[in-house]
Symmetry: C2
Subunit: 434 residues, 2 copies
Amino acid sequence: MDYPPRIRELLERAGATQGDAVVVTAKGRPYPGVLMPHHSFSGEDVLTVKLGNGYNVGILSGDVEAIRVSAKASPAKAERRLPSPRAGRPTLAVLGTGGTIASYVDYRTGAVHPAVTAEELVFSVPDLLDVGNLRARVIYGIYSEDLKPENWRHLAREAAAELEGGAAGVVIPHGTDTLHFTTAALAFMLRDLTGPVVVVGSQRSSDRPSSDAASNLLAAAHVAAANLGEVVAVMHGETSDADAAIHRGTKVRKMHASRRDAFRSLNAPPLGRVRPDGRVDLSERALPRSKGPVAVDDRLEPDVGMFTFYPGQRPSEVAGILQGLRGAVVAGTGLGHVAHDLIPVLGKASRDGVVVVMTTQTLQGRVSMNVYDTGRDLLKAGVVSGEDMLPETAYVKLMWVLAHTRDPAEAARAMATNVAGELNPSIGLPEFAE
Amino acid sequence: MDYPPRIRELLERAGATQGDAVVVTAKGRPYPGVLMPHHSFSGEDVLTVKLGNGYNVGILSGDVEAIRVSAKASPAKAERRLPSPRAGRPTLAVLGTGGTIASYVDYRTGAVHPAVTAEELVFSVPDLLDVGNLRARVIYGIYSEDLKPENWRHLAREAAAELEGGAAGVVIPHGTDTLHFTTAALAFMLRDLTGPVVVVGSQRSSDRPSSDAASNLLAAAHVAAANLGEVVAVMHGETSDADAAIHRGTKVRKMHASRRDAFRSLNAPPLGRVRPDGRVDLSERALPRSKGPVAVDDRLEPDVGMFTFYPGQRPSEVAGILQGLRGAVVAGTGLGHVAHDLIPVLGKASRDGVVVVMTTQTLQGRVSMNVYDTGRDLLKAGVVSGEDMLPETAYVKLMWVLAHTRDPAEAARAMATNVAGELNPSIGLPEFAE
């Protein structure tokens, strides 16, 4: 996008073009960085500079006192190589999967491209190189809505291989749409983690003035170096807070379409946070690194489905969804209910060996099927309580459980047994406070 | 449930049995009310008295200084009659539908029963009689998960009849599970409201020490007397707040299985609140009472469905759900996405005349299908944006819209046109704040 007139004039006077390394002085302060293309979301009067830490700073044209070009844009950018590892620093493995966070800005055209090489992934945030020795691979370039359970299995194996190969931690840049499905899947598949597996996304692409790509990636790298043996999501904290939040992989969900603080821990507080200076605060609940070796158990039963109940839903619709499945997660209402005319359908499926697990579409709180008749009728029909699991987490867990047993009673017991922090005891939780 | 020993001793000494009108003095203060049965959720050492305003107060046995019986429980309680209307006060119509809020405590047995008579409904909260002249009818005694679209239509006609028959406002006690579907449905069906239609529920039954039944019902009555011409939900406010919240019927959703503050306005602030003293504060956005007459347009197309996308969902499952439908709401991921392998299925349905509307399973934020390829591909396939509508609201609206036109293009236009506060303009909303 062309620069607006006043910005263009300033740049022409300085001989600066987009992609140049520049030092812009404004209000007496120098801002060294790369001159960004103009973005339609920026104000008409704003010059955007990408600092060394990957953050974008927007400077009003009236505040600009000087622009100095320190290096012209290099057309050979893509040939940059990762530096050689330095002794005494942790090795962090970066496994790119696609999504907004794994895109980079082509400074010459202003376009945002998916990162297709490891270097593009890492050089979008040069400060990453200060956190540790990086080794990076691009595994997929897929929007997360297109990721399949098969991809979760592959990712689990790749993350384990990195840890077994000496990485102190693994960072997985990922699209945000289904990020919480992936963290839940990895959490069930990976045991005895010798280091953190950190899935990170961004809600605003790296060319936008408000991008969270660089700050989230940097926070994720700090978490990957911490004493943590869990699968977590690291994302921008609540808006009023400059920190990034660390969410347990089985307790996190995307709760807003566009806000940077869209990811929230539900039915559990976050596992910790990353301060702006890179310091990582972890809750006592967080599992520390194990001695290893990392155990991978990536089997998933594919014939599992999930559906949300609504008034007017027909028994025939539910019967159709259950056809051919070995397990199904229902997102019911309230404490875990559906209309009475659906209960015989769930009962028949249950008698036929389908494991039906009840969760709640309120997302927060706990299924409790002993309070009202409807719940008791569902229990009698063989429906299993999903307790305080998110529907998404229960779905992934049910795929994993049914790959390990074909016995419905054993599967029901496994669903009620905590594996990766997905179940919390009910006593003392705020949702039961009087 | 039997009283625990220390409480039993105190009561025996005073000659008091449950259901008696008593005055309990504790720490120098008198608590006049009805002696409640013991509840398993109360502490072992707590005596519960239901005050005149319907609130329960729990008194530690050690604090009890005196118990005086002012009237023995009357076995003829069910024969109490509503008082005659008094001039100069608003008439409020109460239409019972069932659910936790429409239950009352049988003081003799301690059991909680659904209210089956108007008197039982009203006498559970005697203070209601101070707000206005009440006329009450029990229309259903149904758990809300069993309510059908046909019930919404019936309720709309009954509410309109009450307003046309001189009621200043209508209070509808309702189960909480699907309360927000009902408020959305009534909001689309009722125009030119001469008074508020207030749907109210309770998350804890009236025998529990922490019950919100009385306070919610009383708050709803105050709202029904206010200068408001909308369909709203009135429920307990956020926990830190003694106020009740007034939610626009098309923007509210149950967001917790059990908490009293489970109901939240999403993508819009609440429309107002009710102070503990009964004062009603309304936002400027709230529509005032219209001059009438009330217009009822209760037609609904029954062949409409709704489903939530998840990774691993099969195209054949979606094709099965869409079979025989004239409209479908999808709760996609993020800005309104599904996996690419589902897009041809939605495209075919769309070409066959099915109106497919995209909403987001993040619940908060706005569908925006012009940002990524997936969204653009969905738009090309004929999928319609649900903007910032909740999936539940979009589902009810689509049923209503398709009952008025069989032309998909016209239906798409109607879905994008605000009818009852369900669509907000995007500019300046917090979710787009940089």
